[in-house]
């Protein structure tokens, strides 16, 4: 197994601006093979949008990147760290401890389809929690940071509001602010607008677009083709646990080479 780890040492060398390097990821749930050897490299500042029919493995792949799912085989590296594993003295890959995995996840933002805000905390407290408990930041500093992040997503007037009193679009923007407060090197979005009413999808996409313009590295699972066309540097088409086509949006959307991509696009466009 060790020989299959790129760069061996667990760090991405050579000055390559690779933020994500996922190599031959396989994942099965029981007898069902959900990912059949998926590889994807993402460079710094790049936005990759994953599209494809439901059940094609997009979300599972995303969850493998921050180790919510442990791949059956394959290697994930983010920002130079092997995710979910480390190399022991003999160069063997062994499981990382819970504490080490937590430290790795701290630099990977994850935005959920269903927001998963902490309902017993205000918007401000949701955003402050990570910096205080994980980064051991002082409450005052965390408060200033959280207000900054909430202002950035246009919610400076909602800092003391509880999730129960926020609209779906507002909740998702708080969730994005909560991730950004940890200063992540990478943001993962799992269908961030799928649970939203149509009229508030735009406000969330605007926030993600602004992030892209600021140079954030992102992988976004989305069914918003228009958004993907505009914001993505590359689009990856998933089907049946594999990336069947990947390229710049114009190519994938306007001149798909694969029949499965054409079939999928004909349904969603």
């Amino acid at each position: 197994m060790t020989s299959s780890i790129p760069q061996g040492s667990g760090s991405i060398g050579g000055g390559a601006a690779l933020i994500v390097q996922a190599t031959e990821i396989r994942k099965s749930f029981g007898s069902q093979e959900v990912l059949k050897s998926v590889s994807l490299d993402v460079t710094r500042g790049e936005v990759v949008v994953l599209i494809g029919p439901s059940g094609s493995g997009k979300t599972t792949f995303l969850r493998c990147i921050n180790h919510f799912e442990k791949p059956n085989s394959g290697v994930v590296q983010v920002n130079g760290h092997l995710i979910g594993s480390k190399l022991d003295r003999n160069g063997q890959r062994v499981d990382a401890s819970a504490r080490e995995v937590a430290r790795q996840r701290a630099e990977i933002g994850f935005v959920f389809q269903h927001f998963n805000l902490f309902p017993n905390r205000t918007a401000l407290e949701n955003v402050m929690l990570g910096p205080i408990k994980v980064q051991k930041m002082s409450k005052d500093k965390a408060r200033t940071l959280a207000i900054d992040q909430l202002t950035k997503v246009g919610l400076s007037n909602k800092i003391d509001t509880y999730p129960a009193q926020l609209s779906g679009g507002q909740k998702q923007r708080v969730a994005i602010a909560r991730s950004l407060a940890m200063s992540p090197a990478l943001m993962l979005f799992d269908e961030p607008t799928s649970a939203l009413d149509p009229e508030v999808i735009g406000e969330v996409l605007t926030v993600i677009r602004d992030l892209a313009n600021d140079g954030m590295t992102m992988i976004v699972v989305s069914h918003e083709i228009g958004f993907a066309r505009e914001v993505a540097d590359r689009v990856a088409m998933f089907d049946d646990g594999q990336i069947v086509e990947i390229g710049i949006p114009q190519q994938v959307f306007d001149n798909p080479t694969q029949a499965r991509t054409k079939a999928f696009l004909s349904k969603v466009l």
Partner: protein, 269 residues
């Protein structure tokens, strides 16, 4: 008319109800503090046992399961006699009257608190386990996504939210436990039931004095019902679920008029 023909001593009834003897009040007080102390200890042990039952370590799950199985599967009455008389008879442990910070505590009261706490902790662990399971898995994932360890997630995110689901069944159990303190009379704890029995046998006013005792038990459980409603409202307010502009008392009254608030909040999350 009917009652007087049954020789119901009305004046005795009212006198013991409104101006109870110091002996009776002592019994009442013991019933209260034994219940409260045992309940507090039971919550702490119950949380530990509930977490052990969710452990990834098989041995911990096994030990915790065994604990609940035994304590919940045998009568409190039998447990009391084993702890107080059984242990002493075999010279394993003998409870002795002791002085704690200037307060003398009877041997039988110590045994009562220990046994009630252990017995109740088995029920508490199941209630807390259900409460932990009721917290959406997305909450734990959100905590992990901002870099918390599983232990931090449990402490700062999952357990506080579980409290909301735990309070109603916990209140139910505490109500039952306050009344089951009456079985403590078998090991000679001078609580309300034993004192009532003593008054009954010395005055032969059995009906009157036990009716008084029933009313006092009813008063205790009624007070607890209000405290529980207050706790529920307090938690709902800290989740922003019930309106906070309203006074606490008004919110508690509302809780009695429409107890559905507990369910209503979840949908809004």
């Amino acid at each position: 008319m009917l009652i007087s023909s049954l020789q119901f001593d009305t004046s005795f009834f009212w006198h013991e109800l409104l101006r109870p003897s110091s002996g009776f009040l002592g019994g009442l007080w013991r019933t209260v503090y034994i219940s409260v102390i045992a309940q507090v200890i039971a919550i702490v042990i119950g949380l530990v046992v509930a977490l052990a039952r969710r452990s990834t370590l098989r041995i911990l799950r096994g030990v915790a399961g065994l604990y609940v199985w035994v304590l919940r599967g045998t009568p409190l009455l039998v447990q009391l006699v084993i702890v107080y008389d059984g242990l002493a008879a075999t010279d394993i442990y003998r409870f002795r009257d002791m002085n704690l910070l200037g307060v003398s505590i009877l041997a039988s009261v110590q045994a009562a608190i220990v046994t009630l706490a252990l017995n109740e902790s088995a029920y508490m662990s199941e209630i807390i386990r259900a409460g932990l399971a009721a917290v959406d898995v997305g909450q734990n994932e959100a905590a992990l996504s901002i870099g918390m360890t599983p232990a931090q997630s449990m402490r700062h995110v999952v357990v506080p939210q579980a409290m909301r689901f735990v309070i109603p069944p916990l209140g139910n159990d505490f109500n039952a436990m306050m009344k089951s303190t009456s079985v403590l009379s078998v090991i000679g704890v001078p609580e309300m039931f034993l004192i009532t029995q003593e008054i009954s046998s010395s005055t032969f006013h059995t009906f009157e004095i036990f009716l008084d005792a029933a009313l006092y038990y009813l008063a205790l459980t009624t007070i607890w019902t209000f405290i529980q409603a207050w706790l529920e409202v307090k938690i709902d307010r800290s989740w922003g679920i019930v309106r906070t502009q309203r006074s606490m008392w008004a919110s508690v009254r509302e809780r009695f008029k429409d107890p559905r608030t507990l369910g209503l909040g979840r949908r809004a999350l």
